[in-house]
């Protein structure tokens, strides 16, 4: 049986200044890593909930996004009569012709301006967005230069307030409402009446994409195959969920940089833990000798010191979790290389994320503590007993 945990915990408490300083170093490393992971997790969650599992996004073949796609109105007329498309309560096919373009807005974090997605959308398109709700104000009126902004847009762009006016197209557009749809991409968009948006951009006949909802999973696959194979249309059909999954690439640079910085810091933290534990081993040499005399094996001593280092680092990991908790639900945004616009989302510090932070701390402790523990275990009994 190993030495009691209380032995390690009390030793950490005895040298509390060193323990706190080392734990804080580890806490900062864990906090940096968790902040990056919370950002990625927030983005992933927002993208995951942005698509409907039965919906299909149809764009012009070889278009990488809705923004660069051109969809003729005539094509839409052919697409919406395809078999397998779900029907709304009023019996209409659930198919939405949409136009997507970009607006450049001055933001809180981007005084030089940032691209925001403007979507011209029909009533059918609104009906196809789950959890869509108007948080404040009213919906835009058809045929008028009125827009509704996503809640993240309202939060991050001072001009996008109810009653505010944005200039684009052929005039000023009034913000009449704020919308939300859970944590989805809708929160990062600005919506207006399809015909008015298209008309202002001189694209009444050539819009961007079509969103379809299949009647069931079987029809879903069949519809995709049908659309992809239809050479008259020259379109590409992909599940809406996959379209948003592909946008995770936007998080890649942040994830890489953040993880890289955290790993560099982790090396430093490992050395901090190592230094602390070497000092502990030196200070407790006589104790180590005594434990060996009592019958504890070298392996038992090694295990005990590694455990102590892991405990120390886990304390750091827990502090790191506490440091990063205030970030939870803070709204931020990243520029997407797919849509060339900003995608807003909330940091998400989940319990799983915090657990991984504590485990990351523990790993640093185990790595940093191993060599001092090995040096403790290798001490000859008599030499250890003679040390002061």
């Amino acid at each position: 049986m190993a030495l009691p945990l209380g032995y390690n915990l009390r030793n950490l408490a005895v040298r509390k200044t060193t323990t706190i300083m080392t734990a804080l170093g580890i806490a900062l490393t864990v906090a940096v890593l968790l902040a990056v992971l919370a950002l990625v997790e927030g983005l992933r969650t927002a993208l995951r909930v942005s698509g409907h599992p039965l919906q299909i996004l149809v764009t012009r073949k070889a278009s990488s996004s809705e923004l660069v796609s051109v969809m003729a109105r005539a094509n839409f007329e052919q697409i919406k009569v395809k078999p397998g498309i779900a029907r709304s309560a009023s019996g209409e096919p659930m198919a939405s012709l949409e136009m997507v373009t970009l607006l450049n807005l001055e933001g809180v974090d981007s005084p030089g301006g940032m691209n925001v997605t403007l979507r011209g959308i029909s009533p059918a398109g609104r009906e196809m967005r789950d959890r869509l709700q108007l948080e404040r104000g009213r919906w835009y009126a058809p045929g008028r230069r009125e827009i509704v902004v996503g809640k993240s847009v309202a939060l991050r762009y001072p001009a996008a307030k109810i009653g505010g006016k944005l200039q684009f197209g052929k005039g000023d557009w009034e913000v009449v409402g704020i919308m939300s749809a859970g944590a989805s991409a809708v929160n990062s968009e600005i919506w207006g009446d399809l015909f008015q948006v298209a008309s202002d951009h001189n694209r009444a006949e050539f819009l961007s994409s079509v969103l379809l909802r299949a009647a069931d999973p079987v029809a879903f696959s069949a519809l995709i195959n049908d659309l992809d194979a239809d050479q008259r249309l020259n379109v590409s059909a992909i599940p809406e969920t996959r379209y948003y999954e592909k946008q995770m690439i936007a998080a890649a640079p942040v994830q890489f940089m953040g993880t890289f910085v955290a790993l560099i810091m982790a090396v430093g933290s490992c050395f901090a833990a190592m230094n602390t534990m070497y000092a502990a081993v030196a200070r407790r040499a006589r104790e180590i000798g005594t434990l060996r005399v009592l019958g504890f094996s070298r392996a038992g001593i090694l295990f005990s010191f590694v455990v102590e280092s892991v405990l120390l680092s886990m304390i750091g990991g827990l502090i790191g979790c506490l440091l990063v908790l205030p970030l939870n639900n803070i709204t931020t945004g990243v520029g997407s290389f797919v849509t060339f616009s900003e995608f807003s989302f909330n940091f998400r510090v989940t319990p799983q994320l915090m657990l991984s932070g504590v485990l990351f701390g523990a790993l640093m402790g185990a790595l940093g503590g191993f060599f001092p523990a090995r040096s403790a275990a290798r001490k000859e009994i008599l030499n250890a007993l003679r040390e002061i």
């Binding site: 032995y7 009390r10 006589r286 005594t290 434990l291 005399v293 094996s297 008599l382």
Partner: protein
């Protein structure tokens, strides 16, 4: 006559210390009978502690034979020695060597953590050992909250808690006042007489040696004949 519990033959221990070749023990032949109380006496550097460390398997001889309880200590691996020491040896240090962050009870329980006893049994044994040394009312005290004599009695409780066959004490009264020293020596004597424990006591204090049934003297690493005292 029963077989000796400790036997050494031509036991030799040499060191290289600061480039000097030091012979700490030279051809030591010693026999200790079961339930005997032996005092090893001699001046500083005479090799008495070295001999005790070899008996406790805390060190390995350069040459010669050493057997305790019939086991050839040279033949055991590190891990086997650790286990053997835990089961058969109780060691009492001059400077007590209690773990400062553990209470008296936890210190005494420590060697029992290497046995298969349940936690309840371990604590019960530890409490009994502390009561035996007269510290039943100090179980939750940390070492720094005890006097030197009390600390040494906790150390003795720790040494006897596994019910070892041999108790080895390395100048156990060296850091104690006369009153506390008397208590500790009386306790060792009681363990020998009442519980038939074999005790080997290293001391340079003739008064302490009087508690032993036999006294052996070492001089410059050599064990002097039985009757010779320096």
């Amino acid at each position: 006559m029963p077989d000796p519990i400790i036997i050494t033959r031509k036991l030799r221990r040499e060191f290289i210390r600061d480039q000097f070749h030091v012979i700490a023990l030279e051809d030591v032949d010693l026999e200790v009978q079961p339930a005997e109380f032996v005092a090893l006496m001699g001046p500083s550097g005479s090799g008495k502690s070295t001999l005790l460390h070899l008996i406790a398997a805390m060190d390995r001889p350069t040459s010669g034979e050493i057997k305790a309880l019939g086991t050839d200590l040279r033949a055991l691996s590190d891990r086997q020695i650790a286990r053997w020491r835990n089961q058969h040896i109780g060691f009492v240090f001059q400077s007590f060597n209690l773990i400062p962050v553990l209470t008296a009870l936890e210190n005494v329980e420590l060697p029992l953590r290497l046995t298969k006893l349940s936690r309840k049994d371990r604590l019960e044994h530890a409490r009994t050992a502390l009561e035996l040394v007269g510290l039943g009312d100090r179980v939750h005290h940390l070492p720094r909250q005890l006097s030197g004599g009390q600390e040494q009695r906790v150390a003795i409780a720790r040494a006897i808690v596994t019910d070892p066959d041999i108790i080895l004490a390395d100048e156990p009264t060296g850091n104690l006042d006369a009153g506390s020293a008397l208590e500790v020596l009386t306790l060792l004597s009681r363990l020998n007489k009442e519980f038939s424990k074999t005790v080997v006591l290293v001391t340079h204090d003739p008064h302490a040696a009087q508690f032993a049934s036999h006294t052996r003297h070492l001089e410059k690493g050599q064990l002097l004949p039985n009757s010779v005292a320096v």
